[in-house]
């Protein structure tokens, strides 16, 4: 047990672990994550196997990284406890040891007390001696940070193990069931700046539970807290298109959403996604360069008994031949309308509060470290002068010098 504690109390181990964690994370960021094993073998040759063995293809969830973080956790835990055990008793001790003093100053005891108060010290009397302390908060700073880091690691594990995420798209009027709550989308607003750039997406939802019903806006960066660890985020949006297609030769008109298939006249007709702004990209892919219907197009394919018998790119603004050219059916776009759907993301996790506490502790800790540094001084009256002992102080020399110079300054007028 002692050797275990000695090992994990070591600051050298902490530095080695920090370097190892940094190295694994650094290498991990340079390697594409979460691909198939074959990808690493083909792209990295011999190193590919090492990447897989060490789990660098998913480094943040790898066993190696988990071991390093666990060791780091133990290291911080033991270091923090050792530090607390070592420093806190002295920090809060009310006992004043007056067996030894460093300086005997020819200055009035009351005057030196006044000067120490001016320097920000708090004075506490014990017998005929006085204990002067300042900056206890600063001394506690590193301990608070260490506790915060430990909580962040625990919280991170809890959050990592319990987080689930689900995205769904809704149109106004749609209802989604989340636990016991009914979420109804009342409205979806897409706000833009004067130059047309997106400014915000706002989903107005009505939440109905067993006891209450309320309406709230969900915007980017402002999720809706549904309770029980559920948060609903405005994550994306989509533009859906309804189309009207006329099939000459079949004497048939289709009106409804794109990306569908229909059966009519012995044919199965596959209708592609609606492409509002058709363009052929550099690598011969069909793309839509904008959401605006500047060059609307749709692809239609005709099948009979599972085999393609004809196909056609249908453009709204110009005529395009069918394939084969003598195919008896020809489609034309007669109309189209768009409607927006909101993309909402439901995130469930259990340990958020742990992380919030951890981050609060780290913040308090780092702020504490930049306050006035810790110092502890004992003074005692002695033969019209004062005995002084500076017990703890980062600026021991500086404080001693200041008190000594005070002595000289005060003594001169006398």
């Amino acid at each position: 047990m002692k050797s275990f504690l000695r090992l994990f109390r070591s600051i050298k181990l902490a530095i080695v672990l920090m370097i190892l964690i940094a190295t694994v994370a650094g290498i991990g960021t340079l390697i594409p994550q979460n691909n198939e094993q074959a990808f690493y073998i083909s792209h990295y040759a011999g190193i590919g196997k090492l990447i897989i063995v060490f789990g660098l293809d998913h480094y943040s969830h790898s066993i190696l990284f988990g071991i390093l973080l666990s060791l780091f956790f133990l290291n911080v835990l033991v270091c923090a406890l050792s530090r607390i055990v070592k420093t806190w008793p002295a920090l809060f001790s009310k006992n004043i040891s007056t067996s030894r003093f460093d300086h005997e100053l020819p200055i009035d005891f009351a005057l030196i007390k006044k000067e120490l108060r001016k320097m920000g010290f708090k004075l506490r009397k014990s017998g005929d001696s006085v204990l002067a302390t300042r900056g206890i908060i600063s001394k506690l700073g590193p301990d608070i940070i260490h506790v915060g880091i430990l909580m962040a690691i625990i919280g991170g594990m809890v959050v990592g193990l319990t987080t689930t995420q689900k995205t769904f798209f809704m149109q106004p009027g749609d209802v989604e069931q989340i636990g016991t709550l009914h979420i109804k989308l009342i409205d979806f607003k897409f706000l833009t700046y004067p130059n047309g750039q997106p400014k915000d997406w706002i989903s107005v939802v009505q939440v109905s539970g067993k006891k209450t019903t309320y309406t709230k806006n969900i915007t980017v960066n402002n999720p809706l807290n549904l309770g029980n660890g559920n948060l609903l985020y405005q994550s994306s949006y989509d533009k859906n298109w309804d189309i009207k297609l006329k099939f000459k030769g079949l004497n048939y008109e289709y009106e409804g959403p794109a990306a569908t298939s229909i059966k009519y006249g012995g044919y199965t007709i596959y209708i592609s996604e609606f492409i509002p702004d058709f363009r052929i990209s550099g690598n011969n892919q069909v793309i839509s360069v904008s959401d605006e219907p500047k060059n609307p197009a749709i692809y239609v394919e005709y099948q009979k008994d599972g085999k393609r018998v004809g196909r056609q790119w249908v453009f709204s603004k110009f005529d395009f031949p069918t394939d084969p050219k003598d195919f008896p059916i020809k489609a034309s776009i007669e109309g189209f309308t768009s409607h927006l759907t909101t993309g909402l993301m439901l995130v469930h996790s259990e340990g958020d509060w742990l992380i919030f506490i951890a981050l609060t502790l780290i913040s308090i800790g780092v702020l504490a470290t930049i306050t006035k540094s810790y110092a502890k001084i004992i003074i005692k009256p002695h033969n019209n002068g004062t005995l002084v002992r500076v017990l703890f102080a980062k600026e021991k020399e500086e404080i001693t010098k200041k008190i000594t110079s005070l002595t000289v300054d005060r003594k001169t007028p006398k």
Binding site: A14, A22, G26, T219
Partner: protein
């Protein structure tokens, strides 16, 4: 006069400060060092209305793209270097290197790859947690720039006293910068990520490299405070930490990730 006028003018003033600092370094006259530092501060004052005007034009704090990020670092850096000059009497070598790094950052804004166009922020960037995240992280980083300058000056120092002073300055600037960096890059960053993406931490390359930078600086402080490292060993660690910081700032963009829509 629009914001571009002040931004361009500030760049020339920073450049002038750099030339004066170089002159001070070569002539070894403290008078020029003083002029150089005050010129840097004038650059800061000159850039300030530009920053305000740009903010008014885009209706948000101008720290939402690369152009704004690098010029913001130079702006905040100019005042930090001047503050260090006034309080810690940083020598000409540190003044010159710090100014050179800040001018380097500013020069990135002139790169053809960086657009100076004023554009309002996309919805994900319209968050005051982001403002806290970026501004605190940058404040920490400019102290790290001064620490880098002091560490480099240490390596070129010939006397023991000067080396000891540079070692101490490296330590002090890291000691000041570290809390700001911790709050900005990690704490506020994690809170913003929770509100924006639903997760405190996603092991995105920028997040991972911020953590790496933090670990190196934390390692540096522990080695100083607990192991009592001083001198060359400590300086090398400070330089490695700074290299990680620069990679986090610029290099990580080539690795993609969630932060590709963010400021840098």
């Amino acid at each position: 006069m629009n914001s571009a006028f002040f931004y361009s003018g500030a760049f020339f003033i920073y450049l002038l400060a750099l030339i004066v600092e170089l002159f001070s370094l070569l002539s070894k006259k403290s008078f020029f060092h003083k002029i150089g530092m005050y010129t840097l501060f004038i650059g800061f004052l000159f850039q300030t209305p530009g920053l305000i005007l740009r903010g008014i034009e885009m209706n948000f704090i101008p720290i939402t793209n690369v152009y704004e990020a690098v010029t913001f670092v130079a702006w905040i850096g100019a005042v930090v270097v001047f503050y260090m000059y006034k309080t810690h009497k940083i020598p000409a070598s540190v003044g010159f290197i710090s100014t050179a790094v800040l001018v380097g950052f500013y020069a990135v804004s002139s790169s053809p790859l960086v657009s100076p166009e004023i554009a309002p922020p996309v919805p994900i960037l319209r968050s005051y947690w982001l403002v806290l995240h970026i501004s605190f992280a940058f404040l920490g980083e400019v102290f790290f720039i001064v620490s880098f300058a002091a560490a480099l000056a240490y390596l070129f120092s010939k006397t023991k006293e000067k080396r000891a002073r540079m070692d101490d300055l490296t330590y002090k600037t890291i000691l000041i910068g570290f809390p700001f960096f911790t709050l900005g890059a990690l704490v506020f960053g994690a809170i913003w990520a929770k509100f924006a993406w639903g997760r405190f931490w996603s092991w995105d390359p920028k997040e991972s490299w911020s953590l790496i930078t933090w670990l190196f600086y934390a390692g540096y402080l522990h080695s100083r405070y607990v192991l009592k490292w001083k001198g060359k060993k400590s300086i090398i660690l400070a330089l490695v930490a700074f290299a990680a910081m620069i990679f986090t700032f610029f290099g990580v963009d080539f690795l993609g990730g969630l932060h590709s829509t963010e400021v840098r």
